[in-house]
């Protein structure tokens, strides 16, 4: 899969008077084409290709119809709609994508992926962008979300099966949210919704999988 921004706009733009009349010729403002303003080039193409490689999704077929944005339950809370995010990936706007709130607010409900007429796995792209952002250690705009993911994986590595009470305590400490939902937590305890003690069954097998998976990723 090639990046979407590998060729220049001029190559594809209609030429001649008719194109000018239609306003299709790239406008040069202050000596800069829109393409230069976007800084489309080697790095941006590399970012588009990296997202495609990690997600296994061809983002270039998206034509911004907006169905994903209209169905997205969290687009009201994000900075970019899923449509805008995919467009930004196509344009290789690495920083805008990796620093966006939207990538962390996605609930992975799969409405975008389901309704895409071009069969773009939008949720899969967002997930890949999350992975890339974490690997590149980009400071996340909604830091609690990746913290929760990491703490969940540590919890699985330790206990094999999720130990929710331990996960909540670990998450609260590392995200410094000691007071939020304390009342809810204690009510859940009283209602018997938390196991007090962890089980360690399955923990050796889970650790083996985590260790091997990390080893492969280090070498690939």
């Amino acid at each position: 899969m090639a990046g979407c921004t590998g060729t220049s706009l001029e190559e594809h733009a209609p030429t001649g008077d008719s194109a000018d009349a239609l306003g299709l010729t790239p406008q040069i403002v202050n000596g800069v084409t829109p393409e230069q303003a976007l800084q489309v080039g080697g790095e941006s193409v590399a970012f588009t290709e990296l997202v495609e490689q990690v997600s296994g999704v061809d983002v270039c077929v998206c034509f911004q119809c907006g169905k994903c944005a209209s169905g997205c339950p969290v687009s009201y809370a994000g900075d970019y709609t899923p449509t805008q995010l995919i467009h930004a990936v196509q344009l290789g706007l690495r920083d805008q994508v990796l620093r966006s709130k939207t990538i962390w607010l996605c609930s992975s409900c799969q409405i975008c992926t389901t309704r895409c007429p071009q069969d773009v796995d939008v949720a899969g792209v967002i997930n890949a962008v999350r992975i890339i952002a974490q690997r590149a250690q980009v400071s996340p705009s909604v830091s609690s979300v990746p913290t929760f993911f990491r703490k969940s994986v540590s919890n699985i590595a330790l206990f094999g099966r999720m130990y929710e009470l331990g996960l909540m305590a670990d998450f609260k400490v590392s995200s410094r949210r000691f007071s939020e939902d304390l009342g809810l937590g204690s009510r859940m305890l009283r209602k018997g919704k938390f196991s007090l003690l962890p089980s360690f069954r399955g923990s050796r097998a889970a650790r083996r999988i985590i260790r091997r998976s990390r080893a492969i990723e280090r070498t690939s």
Partner: protein, 280 residues
């Protein structure tokens, strides 16, 4: 389901399975599938964790896995779909998991909505719920994305309605069957979960529902534990119990509200419901 959070789902599911003659065995030495969290850290890990559990299943001589949690259901199905379609990922996964992982993944709704099971459920009815109108909330991942889930109608599923109607429960049409409750954002951004749950409660109330039936532990947890905050935030009264579909069927089979642990919920069904289920 090992955790205490959804013990009432486990208990009622096993009770229903016993009555309709569905034999279930627990996967030996299973571990967490990683859910969305592991997958958002590493696709390889998020694929290898569930498939390793399928290797354990195959070692028991079994090749069908009933997965009651839709988040797990989706992760298992996605993992199988991804290794089938991505040769490079498959090669890496097969370096990690040792053995055959091919198995059929089924949600309990898929099993119970088979014609033979619907008949078995109808035959086993001992109690009816007079005056109880329920909306079925399927959530996100049971049907989405359809090429992975391959289950029911993607936008307007019917299987839970069919199963509950067979058990004598009146179910209503409504517009939020496959809406999103916000899932694990309840830990990190509860304001979003409160907003999304409000939309679901309002849609249920608009059609005159007395309760919401669910097939997902996280949907149950979000709707049930955030309901009071939603009522406070939006100055509305809903008082809608959030019941596992298996709790309703088990009670139709004659189990008591105590047997299916209704008191574990934050919004405990009111007297009307308790009376009907106990006395009808």
């Amino acid at each position: 389901m090992h955790s205490a959070t959804a013990r009432e789902y486990e208990r009622s599911l096993l009770a229903v399975a016993r009555v309709v003659g569905l034999e279930l065995a627990e996967v030996e030495n299973w571990h967490c599938c990683g859910s969305g969290a592991a997958h958002s850290v590493s696709r390889l890990l998020g694929t290898a964790l569930p498939l390793d559990n399928l290797v354990s299943t195959r070692r028991m001589g079994l090749d069908e896995v009933v997965v009651p949690c839709p988040s797990c259901f989706s992760r298992f199905k996605s993992a199988l779909h991804e290794v089938e379609n991505e040769p490079e990922l498959r090669t890496q996964v097969e370096e990690i998991v040792e053995g055959d992982y091919r198995a059929e993944i089924l949600h309990p709704l898929q099993v119970f909505s088979r014609p033979s099971m619907l008949a078995a459920i109808a035959n086993a009815r001992k109690q009816t719920f007079a005056d109880l109108k329920v909306v079925c909330y399927y959530g996100c991942l049971l049907t989405r994305p359809p090429k992975v889930a391959r289950f029911d109608d993607v936008e307007y599923p019917q299987s839970m309605d069919d199963v509950l109607r067979a058990a004598g429960v009146q179910t209503l049409d409504w517009s939020c069957k496959t809406a999103c409750c916000g899932a694990s954002l309840t830990v990190t951004r509860k304001d979003i979960v409160v907003k999304l749950c409000h939309d679901i409660f309002q849609a249920a109330k608009d059609v005159g529902a007395d309760a919401i039936a669910v097939a997902c532990p996280l949907c149950q947890l979000n709707l049930d534990t955030r309901e009071e905050e939603v009522e406070h935030e939006y100055e509305e009264s809903y008082q809608l119990p959030i019941l596992y579909f298996t709790q309703l069927i088990a009670m139709a089979f004659g189990l008591s509200p105590g047997d299916v642990m209704l008191r574990k919920h934050f919004v405990v069904p009111d007297l009307k419901l308790a009376e009907v289920t106990a006395g009808a």
